[in-house]
Amino acid sequence: MERGLAQLGATPHVGGAFVCDNKGEVIVSSDPAVLATVTMSTIGREVGRAFIALEAAGRAAIRMELVYDTWRLFAHDISDAVVFVVCQPAADMAMVRMTVDVVVAGWRKDGDAQKRLARHKAVRRELVNRSELDNGAWLTWSMLESRG
């Protein structure tokens, strides 16, 4: 998996990449890490929930791109985990997306990668529960789920 992240990191204007499981635990990150572990973890958990929320709202997606003034965050859902790529605004996102596709396809054929991902298996929907969310998030989730 590290080699895949190195491949992503070699893409022009990409700062680094990491993979988080659905609980937000960092499975692997590029070296040196592009963000603090706690930040990667928070991003992983929140974006994982956003993917479920989209699914519950009938707008399932496997990719998400968040654009900020000075950086971009690309997220690619691989169901047991999410791959994140931290880019500069100048990054060629088509190139980033294709590289992620190639890397993820490589992991699917890589026994070691599969074992590591399997250790982090967690049913994402079960992680969205009353005790994990604040009031606002819980209300929003309940509304989305009831409409779905």
Binding site: P12, D92, A94, M95, R97, M98, T99, D101, V102, A105
Partner: protein, 268 residues
């Protein structure tokens, strides 16, 4: 009693909200947001008594908030104003804001941009010219190099005040304005025939003999042609084509081939 009223300024303008609250002699706070901008208006028995637009207060803040074309609002009743910065009836505030807006529009026609650079006219427009003291402060900074924004920064005065004075100086013929020429966009390098020959081979390997048609369709979808396609759009084109490759192994192989080619092209 109106309580917890919320909505969008695009659907209900601030002027309409204020008229409604004034008609009900409401007291409370209207919180406004538009992008990163925030504002607050306080009413007391239907009269606006305080306005705050990100640190600008009073009537200036009121006029600024009234000009927001979109955003969100929220009214909470019974919240008293922290201070009084406005003491005019609502009708007069509206009238002054309208006058202010039309003044802004007139200025905008003469000075369309804060990046304009003022310079002194070579000839005096009249045998006698009267200049106010506050105008002289501006004239002293007009050197044909500094933009209006830079002059406003040096004087530490509100941009609109500077614009009003420059408008008068311009319409009386004392100054001229120059506008920076837009910088020509650098010419983009085209992908070229060699790239398309390579692409055709790669697409044919993944999709068969219809490669040329597939490429032209993808170019069409991106609004490009073989002659004009810039080199920095090659990844977008490859990604577009790859989305049409059903066989996952072939798709990944195609993506790998194209990524390597794009990297080589960039390194060349």
């Amino acid at each position: 009693m109106v309580e917890g009223l919320t909505g969008s300024l695009a659907q209900l303008s601030l002027a309409d909200i204020l008229k409604m609250l004034a008609a009900g002699s409401q007291t409370g706070r209207i919180e406004l947001s538009s992008g990163l901008d925030r504002g607050e208006l306080y009413l007391e028995n239907g009269n606006v008594v305080h306005a705050d637009a990100s640190g600008v207060f009073g009537e200036r803040a009121f006029t600024r908030l009234l000009s927001w074309p979109n955003g969100a609002f929220r009214f909470e009743a019974h919240i008293p104003a922290p201070e009084t910065t406005i003491d005019k009836p609502l009708d007069r505030l509206f009238a002054e804001s309208a006058r202010h807006a039309s003044e802004r529009e007139a200025i905008r026609k003469v000075i369309p941009s804060m990046s304009a650079v003022p310079k002194l006219a070579k000839q005096s427009p009249a045998p006698t010219v009267t200049i106010e003291a506050h105008e002289w402060q501006i004239i002293a900074l007009v050197d044909g190099q500094a933009s209006i924004t830079e002059i406003a920064d040096v004087l530490g005065r509100e941009e609109f005040e500077i614009l009003k004075q420059l408008y008068r100086l311009k319409t009386t013929g004392l100054i001229e304005l120059t506008f920076a020429q837009p910088v020509a966009a650098p010419q983009r390098v085209v992908a070229g025939a060699q790239f398309f020959a390579f692409l055709t081979t790669a697409v044919a390997a993944a999709m068969g003999p219809l490669a040329e048609i597939v490429i032209d369709d993808a170019l069409d979808a991106l609004g490009l042609t073989r002659a004009t396609m810039p080199r920095d759009a090659t990844a977008a084109l490859a990604e577009r084509i790859s989305a049409d490759i059903r066989d996952e192994n072939k798709r990944v192989r195609f993506q790998q081939t194209m990524l390597a080619a794009i990297r080589n092209q960039a390194a060349a």
